[in-house]
């Protein structure tokens, strides 16, 4: 499972993708993903908000994740 990282999320993790190998436990829902990255990288807890996109759409906490999904961490947006 790959998780795309943008903006400050990329800076916090130090790379543009987070990879969960086959052997690792992978998050089963959006909420679980948010919790796992916040444990590994506590800086995520300091952000104004944290969203997740699944297949390039915003996804609620209860949405399930599968290995084939395109998953992305969406830190607070600031376009315009």
């Amino acid at each position: 499972m790959n998780v795309l990282l943008f903006g400050i999320a990329k800076d916090i993790v130090g790379k543009s993708q987070l990879q969960f190998s086959e052997a690792e436990k992978t998050p089963e829902t959006v909420l679980e993903l948010k919790e796992m990255i916040s444990v590994s990288f506590p800086e995520f807890r300091k952000l104004s908000s944290l969203a997740v996109a699944v297949n390039s759409e915003y996804a609620e906490d209860n949405v399930s994740l599968s290995r084939n999904d395109e998953i992305a961490i969406i830190p607070p947006v600031s376009g315009g």
Binding site: F6, D11, S48, S56, V77, G79
Partner: protein, 139 residues
């Protein structure tokens, strides 16, 4: 011809936007351009850098355009955002709406920029003399 122009580009050319929004059924065209301001909260900004999750950003921009066309019966809509490093005075975003009467294009144009800032996955980093800041990242 499509009513929508939705783009993420390296450089915004503002000179063509009124031609792009021109329509024989329109009596009014309203356009907003966001530009790089020299000072933010009293600190001098050297440049801004924009990054995007392009596939998703285009989808979200498309949703905004469709909602606006439907709500205000627009003849044409444009949402175009720049990415990369932008210096002071450079245009970073241009949104516009073309409609029969002016109420609709003013309200729609405001909706386009306000909603873009809330939902489109684009991130702005401010470069100051001695630091960089991801805008809105922290409370």
């Amino acid at each position: 011809m499509d009513k929508k122009i939705i783009e993420i580009v390296d450089h915004i050319d503002t000179s063509q936007v009124f031609s792009e929004l021109s329509d024989s059924k329109s009596g009014g065209i309203c356009v907003f351009v966001g530009t790089v301001r020299e000072f933010t909260q009293g600190e001098e900004v050297i440049s801004l850098e924009f990054e995007t999750y392009k596939k998703m950003a285009l989808k979200e921009m498309n949703k905004i355009a469709i909602t606006a066309i439907d709500k205000w019966q627009l003849n044409k809509v444009i949402i175009r955002h720049a990415v990369g490093v932008k210096k002071v005075e450079a245009p970073v975003v241009i949104v516009g709406a073309s409609s029969a009467h002016r109420d609709a294009c003013f309200e729609a144009c405001r909706y386009l920029i306000d909603t873009l800032k809330e939902t489109v996955p684009i991130w702005k980093k401010e470069y100051f003399e001695n630091k960089t800041v991801w805008v809105s990242a922290h409370p």
